[in-house]
Amino acid sequence: MIKVLFFGPIAAASGARELSIAHSPGMTLGHLKNMLAAAHPEAMRLAVMLAVNGEHARDLAMPLSDNSEVAFMAKFSGG
């Protein structure tokens, strides 16, 4: 399973903070993003930053291992 994390404005727009998505062989960050965009279009329009296992990720072709933690994040507004 892939653990998907939503925070702040994305959690508010999707009504969820955490989702479990089945992992499939060859699955990339881009595949996951497209699946979520179909299910949560409004929330995912805010997702301008991605992190895999707590590290910034920019390459949508990045393959995802099973049990990865993937965060889709709106523009930060801390400080």
Binding site: F7, G54, A71, M73, A74, F76, S77, G79
Partner: protein, 141 residues
């Protein structure tokens, strides 16, 4: 003594953070700090409270990297970063950045750099509660 980099709901004391910073070296001639506070007014509207959400583990590790980067870049003797989460009201503390160096220029420039970078790098989100409802803040480009 508390850690140099923290995310916490409770308030912090600038005096305690400065004392901890000074404890690391008697060569410290200048300490720059930036304290971010909750304003009761934003974009023309009254703000009743501000709530923060964070990707806690990543935010902490990004703040730790930011501290190390600042120490290396500005040749600091020490630095500290504390960010509150949860809910605060007008006048309350939100974030403290402190940089200690031998001389003032490095301390103040590091302080400015750290707060600018924190806003770019650290996964924390702010929601303002106004009389018209709640708004997640969209930072200006």
């Amino acid at each position: 003594m508390q850690a140099s980099v923290r995310i916490q709901t409770e308030d912090f004391s600038q005096d305690e953070e400065i004392a901890a910073l000074k404890g690391s070296s008697k060569r410290m001639g200048g300490i720059g700090t930036f304290l971010g506070c909750a304003r009761d007014f934003s974009e023309g509207r009254e703000v009743e409270q501000i709530s923060f959400d964070a990707y806690g583990s990543m935010a902490l590790s990004e703040m730790q990297k930011l501290r190390s980067d600042a120490i290396a870049k500005f040749d600091l003797l020490d630095a500290r970063i504390v960010h509150r989460i949860g809910t605060v009201r007008g006048g309350d503390n939100i974030v403290l950045i402190a940089a200690g160096a031998e001389h003032r220029v490095a301390a103040l420039e590091a302080c400015r750099w750290m707060i600018d970078e924190l806003k770019q790098r650290v996964p924390i989100w702010k929601k303002e509660t106004t009389p018209l409802g709640d708004d997640w803040v969209t930072p200006h480009p």
